[in-house]
């Protein structure tokens, strides 16, 4: 009997990295999980990996019609959910002066506007006593070069955790944020040229107080804590960063 037997959770951006690790952790403890992704092949692969207790859905978080379709699908599969993990997001590593309007709009569409309307459209499906967890970033409170747009998009999301937190309380739904530092999802290697990825990997290891990257499972455990145990916690941001933003 798993700790999350009978729980139903929707996770946006669940086909890789933190979302996939969280889905796996929850399923291992007995939950049923619906995940989303943009790339059909990745959605299919994640569905196969997670097995019978997962529903893998193709959905682009920057498209409102697709968010509506996602809400319909969640309703059809689960009726209601106990937790909504708004995790879909995109990185962006351009120096301030090289950022185009297109990049700017894309990052805010996926990291900020998509999450806003995902919560708006899926909130009616969250059961009383359930919760929302927004995946922010410790970059939202620091000034790292080349992260101006990304950090700002996540700072806006962190703010929404507070306002949503207040607005959803009358329905007894808790909203909190989880703020990861450098978690080893393989994303660097996927998104950057090998040399730059290796450079950043070494740099983040050297500058992290704990001297290491976090494991995706360490993120997943924090999600589960906020979803099910943190019953008197609203509007907080829980940092999983080896102490980087705190020390």
């Amino acid at each position: 009997m798993g700790r999350y037997e009978g729980k139903r959770i929707a996770i946006t951006g669940g086909t890789s990295g933190l979302g996939l690790a969280t889905a796996q952790h929850l399923i291992d403890e007995g939950a049923r999980v619906l995940i989303t992704g943009r790339t059909p092949s990745a959605v299919a692969a994640a569905g196969r990996q997670l097995g019978d207790n997962a529903v893998a859905v193709e959905s682009d978080t920057s498209s409102l019609p697709q968010i509506d379709a996602l809400a319909d699908r969640v309703k059809a599969e689960f009726g209601t959910v106990d937790a909504l993990v708004v995790n879909a997001g995109i990185g962006s590593f351009d120096p301030f002066d090289a950022v185009t309007e297109q990049t700017y709009d894309e990052v805010f569409a996926i990291n900020t506007k998509g999450p806003f309307f995902t919560v708006q459209r899926l909130a009616p499906l969250i059961s009383e006593g359930g919760s929302v967890i927004l995946n922010t970033s410790i970059a939202n409170q620091t000034g790292w070069p080349a992260l101006s747009v990304y950090s700002a998009s996540k700072a806006a999301l962190r703010s929404m955790a507070r306002t949503f937190g207040k607005e959803l309380l009358p329905r007894n739904i808790r909203v909190n944020a989880i703020s990861p530092g450098s978690i080893d999802t393989g994303k660097l290697e996927k998104e950057l040229p090998p040399e730059r990825a290796a450079e950043l990997r070494a740099e983040f290891t050297a500058t992290n107080p704990m001297g290491r990257w976090g494991h995706p499972d360490e993120f997943a455990r924090a999600v589960a804590f906020l979803a099910f145990d943190a019953t008197f916690m609203v509007g907080i941001e829980l940092v999983i960063d080896g102490g980087l933003s705190q020390l």
Binding site: R3, E218, F219, R221, A222, F225, A230, M233, G242, Q246
Partner: protein
Amino acid sequence: MTTYEGKRVVITGGTSGIGLATAKALVDGGARVLVTGRTPTSLEAARGALGPGALVVESDAVTGIDALAQRAAAEFGEVDLLVLNAGVTLAALLEDTTEAQYDEQFDINTKAPFFTLQKFLPLMPAGSAVVLTTTVSNVKGIASTSVYSATKAALRSMTRTFARELIPKGIRVNAVSPGPIDTGILERSMPLEAARQFIAQVTADNPMQRMGEADEVAKAILFLGFDATYTTGTELAVDGGASQL
């Protein structure tokens, strides 16, 4: 049910409220627990509540530090989680606060945790953790809590510095910051009618429109103690949103 089989935990101020709830969850999960307290009645009540699985030790937070560390060493050898939860609050306006009240609160809430951790360090292996109990009032301005809030703000600061200094030893240090928690202490420490009025006011002011349960703080302490392995130097507010919204 999370299991804490084989874990050795010391909780100062563990005979009532948040400390006791944490001890209970740990004992139920199979941990070996040592809790401290000062008052004979609460020591007795804790023995009853925790049963033979826990050591309930009379210890003064300020004067008993060396003896407590020796006792923990003798009983457990090592300590996997140290919860520095003992604290005192003496509500008074700035103009009414005496030097004795000031010193007592800083001694118990700030200096005692500092030196308790210092004495316990040799007992704490790599992979162990410390959780300090602070308060949401350390980031707020609540009348009559100037000294109390300041003692806890100092403790929140120590959380960061301890965390940094103990990383080479593989020890994580975090704080849990409770808001209004229904521990029964109000009814015990003030006239019943005043306590009722205070509770009604706190409930009305809280975003969740209720007080928290000691058990809800205990869960956060246990998360920080055993699950939050990539988190150090942080403070978790368990306050129904009071400091966040």
